[in-house]
Amino acid sequence: MWHIFGVEIDPNPIWTTLSVALTTTLVLLIIGVPIAWKLARMTSRWKVLFEALVALPLVLPPTVLGFYLLISMNPNGMVAETLRFLGHPDGQLTFTFVGLVVGSVFYSLPFAVQPLMHAFEQVPQALLDAAKTMRANTASLFWQVILPLSRRGFLTAATLAFAHTVGEFGVVLMVGGNIPGETRMVSIAIFDHVESLEYAQAHVLSLIMLIFSFAVLLSVYGLNRKFDVKVG
């Protein structure tokens, strides 16, 4: 327990929130890169369809998204069955840390993919072609050409995905189950305090969130200025 301004604060939801947000950001960067790259280089008229699909979580109310996740991840459903087939002990993702990450990945997907996509669109094709004539393979293309040119995109994607997951409420509410130390995130803890009329705790916890998030955003935008890359 922490004591801040004479108010007792349980730090566990803070750690859970940070772990979920960090893991989600990592996963989103890994799966976001190929999706964003494909979208950025796509010339087919189907591109709009995929762009719209990626943006869908922006439209859907989080509790609705959470409700469908709750239904699709239930222990008798197809997802659970597939996971059991792959060796997961019971296949249930709801009420677990992994379930929260899965939910957050859906929820924050556009926040990671869109900045990456815009960054990738700025990478000149001529540069890639030139590198290829020097027999650069895919890995070195990515690490030595694409990544340095799209640093800002990566930074923005990571920040937005992280921040958006920290502030997540609806999805966590639906699939989390509010288990202390496992799935109880800060947003839920604040909600609980408000519900039980413990306004002092709610205020302090909100203040911690605000200061922390502001510090993160500030340092990232500071870095962003340094990374200002000029192409061409």
Binding site: L70, F95, G177, E195
Partner: protein, 251 residues
């Protein structure tokens, strides 16, 4: 004449009642939402007044009322928030009373009727049991007290998953994510909600009473319609509706 005013004029002309008809805004705790809708329909039919119902978690509604929400009546899920409103002078003097006592019920969709709930709980042959978060909902407190009475609270705690309200708790069970759960009897009494397995209506002696308070808010202090609705809730017809919805009405 615009279409809108034409429409308004014709409505006034066609319904003589509307001159007298009034509109009430009612805030209601999520667990009583369905029941209040039935009550409002009965009242609207009798009086020609319109009722607008806003459902939500008690704590949220309380915060909204404290900050000037335009409600006339507040049906709470507890007594804490209504007492606070009374202390703050936000209600019509003397209007606070218990309109219903909630009943707690353990819904077990996979257990056939006739099996003792206490045995099922003792056996512990399930992964998750859902309850409302005791911090946010009185039904959660009652569920913990019930398990405590059975001597199973700490044994079963690792299996807890908690909804923020009784509706969400019901959802966890209804979607199969939890194998059983403590819900409001207003759910288990309704075959639309509960039609599989069995349920255990927890005896009142297992937990402290789930007293639910109603208050008329300051804004409606002089409203005859608000008082008429309260009278309707207390009438024989109102009592019948509340009891049929799975609540006890104290005398």
């Amino acid at each position: 004449m615009t279409l809108k005013s034409l429409l308004a004029a014709s409505i006034v002309a066609l319904t003589p009642m509307s001159v007298l008809a009034d509109e009430l805004k009612i805030a209601v705790a999520a667990n009583f939402l369905k029941t209040i809708e039935t009550l409002s329909q009965g009242f609207e039919k009798q009086t020609g007044n319109t009722i607008k119902v806003s459902g939500g978690p008690t704590g949220k509604l309380y915060a909204q009322i404290e900050n000037g929400a335009p409600f006339d009546i507040f049906f709470s899920a507890d007594q804490k928030s209504t007492k606070k409103l009374e202390d703050d002078g936000k209600i019509k003097a003397g209007s606070r009373f218990i309109y219903a006592q909630g009943r707690l019920s353990l819904w077990m969709p996979n257990v056939p009727a006739g099996v003792e709930a206490a045995d099922v709980l003792k056996k512990g042959d399930f992964k998750h049991i859902a309850l409302a978060n005791p911090k946010a909902a009185p039904y959660g407190v009652a569920a913990e007290q019930t398990l405590d009475k059975l001597g199973l609270l700490e044994t079963l705690r690792p299996k807890f998953v908690m909804g923020e309200n009784i509706g969400q708790t019901y959802q966890f069970v209804a979607t199969g994510n939890a194998q059983m759960g403590f819900v409001a009897h207003s759910y288990t009494v309704d075959p639309k909600h509960v039609n599989t397995g069995s349920y255990w209506l927890v005896p009142l002696s297992y937990h402290s009473p789930l007293d639910q308070d109603v208050v008329v808010l300051k804004k409606a202090e002089n409203s005859k319609t608000a008082q008429a609705f309260i009278d309707y809730v207390r009438s024989a017809e109102g009592k019948k509706i509340i009891e049929a919805s799975g609540y006890t009405v104290p005398n």
